[in-house]
């Protein structure tokens, strides 16, 4: 499926803009079209008894925007906010509904253009991240940048699947 997708793009080979950001030492990227704006971290109000990766809600010009800590979502340990920490306001599509959500990242690196044919399929094995989160890989000089399927990463439906995964792993342990 992924390969087919890739081949389609290969034939068209159009150029698109991407924004890359860092979580720890890892580089990630998402299509610029998905990013509405980039914010400095404002005061975040935490909602009690919510899952860890949901850091809280912020006031985005009068609207209430939920914010997700991408580090925790990806299983990394959370760190103190630095001067580079920022929130990407991303617009994602979940169940045919467009919702906006804030994504907390360590730093934003750059916006670059790339022909879609330079996107390599994601390796199906040996990644630390869930396969459906990664849409493809971009090779750049000596390192790889992961192209994220942002709709999947931040879909609120995942709330359930995360708890399910936890339950399953616990069951496995018990067994």
């Amino acid at each position: 499926m992924k390969n087919e997708h890739h081949n389609d793009k290969h034939m068209n080979g159009e150029t698109k803009s991407f924004l890359s950001f860092k979580l720890g030492e890892e580089n990630f990227t998402v299509p610029v079209m998905k990013i509405m704006e980039i914010l400095e971290v404002p005061k975040i109000t935490r909602v009690p008894q919510s899952p860890n990766f949901l850091v809280g809600v912020i006031n985005l010009r009068g609207a209430v925007l939920p914010v997700i800590d991408t580090r925790i979502k990806f299983g990394m340990t959370p760190i103190e906010f630095t001067i580079n920490t920022c929130i990407l306001v991303v617009s994602i599509e979940v169940n045919e509904e467009i919702i906006e959500v804030g994504a907390l990242v360590d730093s934003v690196s750059e916006v670059f253009e790339l022909s879609t044919e330079d996107i390599k399929p994601a390796p199906t094995l040996a990644t630390r991240y869930r396969a459906d989160y990664v849409q493809g890989m971009i090779h750049e000089s000596d390192h790889f940048i992961m192209l994220l399927n942002i709709d999947k990463v931040f879909s609120s439906n995942d709330l359930e699947s995360i708890t399910e995964i936890k339950d399953n792993s616990q069951e496995e342990k018990n067994n």
């Binding site: 005061k43 909602v47 009690p48 919510s50 809600v57 006031n59 209430v64 939920p66 609120s156």
Partner: protein
């Protein structure tokens, strides 16, 4: 065009709603002339609208219905039960065919014909009975005040002006037009002879007409038209049939045929045709829509103007999108104004303070008006139930008096829409399981007619809706036993009656099986409760055996703006809706620590409390500090909620916090404070439920 059609349907629906309520009140007061007038007017407008959009089938149908009410209006017919039933059936039919205006659905088509037959039967029935009593009256009865539809008669008019007709300034076309206003018509013009252009004298009249007219009036009405032309023209008026021949396809075709041949009709053929068709005439669907529509169009234009005038002044139609946008803007204004007030408090400038206060006043008024606009009187919904009660009670052979009170109470439109189904279910339950059959009631010493009362009223920022019946009631003990047998409670548990009645709302707890022998059907009360909870409302049952049952639904006035108490817990701001706040106390923290019973004694009463810091997972405060206890009322419980500080009263524009937090439903939303920070709005009802669940869980483990 689609848009126009949508407008038409919307308006038609409104008209039909109007019609229904008038019809139902007519049923109670058959002699109320104002209601008859209202029914007539609504039908007339509907007819006009329909024909304006070329929906001739609907227009024709309504026209026939209208005829009945016109007769009643004129005192020529009595309003009978049969008429009302037929009208209500027609009303149902109309509801269907305003969407299916071409009668594409076979069922509708069939129904259409059946109903038209019925209606015609009713119209004719009245004519016949009258004719029997005073046979001569019909002909003489028709004076100027009687409008055309009274008695259907088709006349043949031969109008042949003399050649010098023009000389005294007469215009034959005006006469023809005047004649055509009497009813449906077919006009066939003829020329005396074909003349060459050289012989043509523009001052001599060489045209004459054959006119077939279906006029409600008698012959003298037609004669009246020609009263000044008599000396100058050959005029002949012959009655063909006592029915509407113009709408007959065969007749119309015949006339059209002659028209193109430019032949005068043979009188013998005409009379023979008329006699034959006059007998076999069936109420057919309109045949000559071009002519009919024109006539109706002209008519509807006039009537529309006069009837819609009143409405235009009192209300206009605005799409709810626009209102939503307005509300959003007002919400933003309120928020911005809060920051202005805050800024002013920090930098005291007298001039600014004045401006800020004025803006505060204005935004408050603007807010009230904007939010008031989405409110609609609950009466709109009540009138729908009138019909339901009528039909259901008939089907159940029960005699029911349906009373509504407080129909002027206003509620948010979206709330009313969501509320309709649950209320319908409750009323159906009351009729089916609550009220007894008339004979049984009589034996119990109650009036034969049962009463179902729908009552709405305001209280604080809530609206209460009650459904009260005087039926057999619900036996607490039966429900209790059932709850025990289902394992919801133990047989020695002590419960209040209210708690016992709450089991009715448990899924799988069929009230029907408990209260009556009839097995429950349809959606359960659990769905009703869920629907009402979705509106942030609550429902309570009270009942006494043989006295009756009362269901009380409590709803918030508006979902999006509340008066709240701004508090602070561990440096996070929370809003507690002011509507639930009962009293505030200050207590020493050590009273709450290690409090095994979770009870505080406040004003010499024991009050259970919830330690919010603990429940929300914040660090607990040291024993030496003081906490504020806000006692909130939840249904008939009083529960204390501990917070660090009380900041003050706050107008909160509640915004959703999104799907990510759907598992944190004890937070009903968030609001933005004057300084731009966020306060979370507590749903105390949910918090108390959650807390009691926790407590239960702890006890079990």
């Amino acid at each position: 065009m689609e848009e126009m059609k949508a407008t038409y349907i919307q308006e038609a629906n409104e008209l039909l709603e109007n019609l229904e309520s008038s019809l139902l009140s007519l049923e109670d007061n058959p002699n109320d002339t104002s209601n008859i007038e209202q029914v007539f007017r609504v039908m007339h407008t509907l007819k006009g609208n329909s024909s304006m959009f070329g929906l001739s089938k609907i227009a024709e149908f309504v026209h026939d219905l209208e005829t009945i009410y016109d007769k009643i209006r004129q005192g020529e017919m009595e309003l009978t039960k049969e008429i009302l039933n037929t009208t209500l059936a027609s009303f149902d039919h109309l509801n269907l065919i305003i969407i299916d205006s071409d009668l594409e659905d076979e069922k509708n088509k069939e129904n259409h014909v059946v109903l038209i037959h019925k209606i015609h039967g009713l119209i004719q029935g009245s004519t016949v009975s009258q004719a029997v009593v005073v046979p001569s009256e019909i002909a003489e009865n028709t004076n100027a005040t009687v409008i055309p539809d009274n008695v259907l008669r088709t006349y043949y008019v031969h109008f042949e002006p003399k050649t010098e007709f023009f000389l005294d300034g007469s215009n034959p076309l005006i006469l023809v037009a005047e004649l055509c206003q009497l009813g449906k018509y077919l006009v066939v013009p003829h020329f005396h002879k074909v003349i060459s252009i050289d012989d043509f004298n523009p001052t001599s009249c060489i045209t004459f007409w054959e006119i077939y007219i279906e006029s409600g009036g008698a012959k003298d009405k037609i004669d009246e038209v020609f009263v000044f032309a008599e000396s100058n023209a050959k005029i002949e008026v012959v009655e063909l049939t006592s029915s509407d021949l113009i709408s007959n396809k065969e007749f119309a075709e015949k006339v059209q045929e002659l028209k193109f041949k430019d032949q005068l009709i043979n009188r013998d053929v005409l009379f023979e045709l008329a006699a034959r068709l006059g007998k076999s005439i069936v109420p057919d669907l309109p045949i000559l829509p071009a002519i009919d529509a024109n006539e109706l169009l002209a008519e509807s234009k006039n009537t529309q103007k006069s009837e819609t005038k009143e409405k235009v002044v009192s209300s206009i139609r605005v799409s709810s999108d626009k209102l939503d946008e307005l509300m959003n803007l007002v919400s933003e204004l309120v928020t911005t104004q809060a920051s202005l007030t805050l800024y002013n408090q920090k930098n005291e400038t007298p001039e600014l303070e004045l401006i800020s206060e004025n803006i505060e006043k204005l935004s408050r008024r603007l807010r009230d008006i904007a939010f008031g606009m989405t409110l609609v009187p609950i009466n709109n919904m009540f009138s729908r139930f009138q019909r339901l009660v009528r039909d259901v009670s008939m089907a159940l052979n029960k005699e029911v008096q349906f009373v509504t009170e407080g129909g002027e109470t206003e509620l948010d439109k979206s709330i009313i829409e969501t509320l309709t189904d649950p209320l319908m279910h409750i009323i159906r339950n009351s009729l089916d399981h609550g009220l007894e059959l008339p004979d049984v009631r009589e034996r119990l010493g109650k009036p034969r007619k049962g009463t179902v009362k729908l009552k709405a009223f305001y209280s604080g920022i809530s609206v209460y809706i009650q459904i009260i019946d005087d039926g057999k009631g619900i036996d607490v003990n039966v429900i209790r036993e059932k709850a025990v047998s289902k394992g919801f409670i133990k047989s020695d548990d002590v419960l209040t009656d209210k708690e016992v009645f709450d089991f009715i709302f448990y899924p799988g707890f069929s009230t029907a099986a408990v209260v009556t022998d009839i097995s429950g059907r349809g959606v359960g009360m659990d769905v009703v409760k869920r629907n009402i909870s979705e509106l942030k409302g609550s429902i309570v049952v009270e009942s006494q055996v043989n006295i009756g049952t009362t269901l009380t639904i409590k709803l918030p006035l508006s979902l999006s703006i509340i008066d709240g108490l701004l508090v602070d817990v561990a440096n996070v701001y929370y809003i507690i809706p002011l509507s639930v706040v009962d009293k505030c106390y200050e207590v020493d923290n050590f009273e709450m620590m290690n409090n095994f019973n979770q009870l505080l004694v406040l004003d010499e009463k024991q009050v259970p409390f919830i330690n919010v810091r603990k429940e929300f997972g914040y660090e607990e405060m040291s024993n030496s500090e003081k906490s504020q206890i806000i006692v909130v009322s939840d249904a008939d419980r009083r529960v204390g909620i501990s917070v660090d500080h009380i900041v003050g009263e706050y107008q909160a524009v509640v915004k959703p916090i999104g799907k990510y937090y759907r598992n944190q439903d004890f937070i009903s939303g968030a609001t933005i404070l004057g300084d731009g920070s966020i306060a979370l709005v507590m749903d105390t009802h949910k918090i108390i439920d959650l807390y009691t669940e926790h407590a239960k869980f702890e006890l079990k483990s």
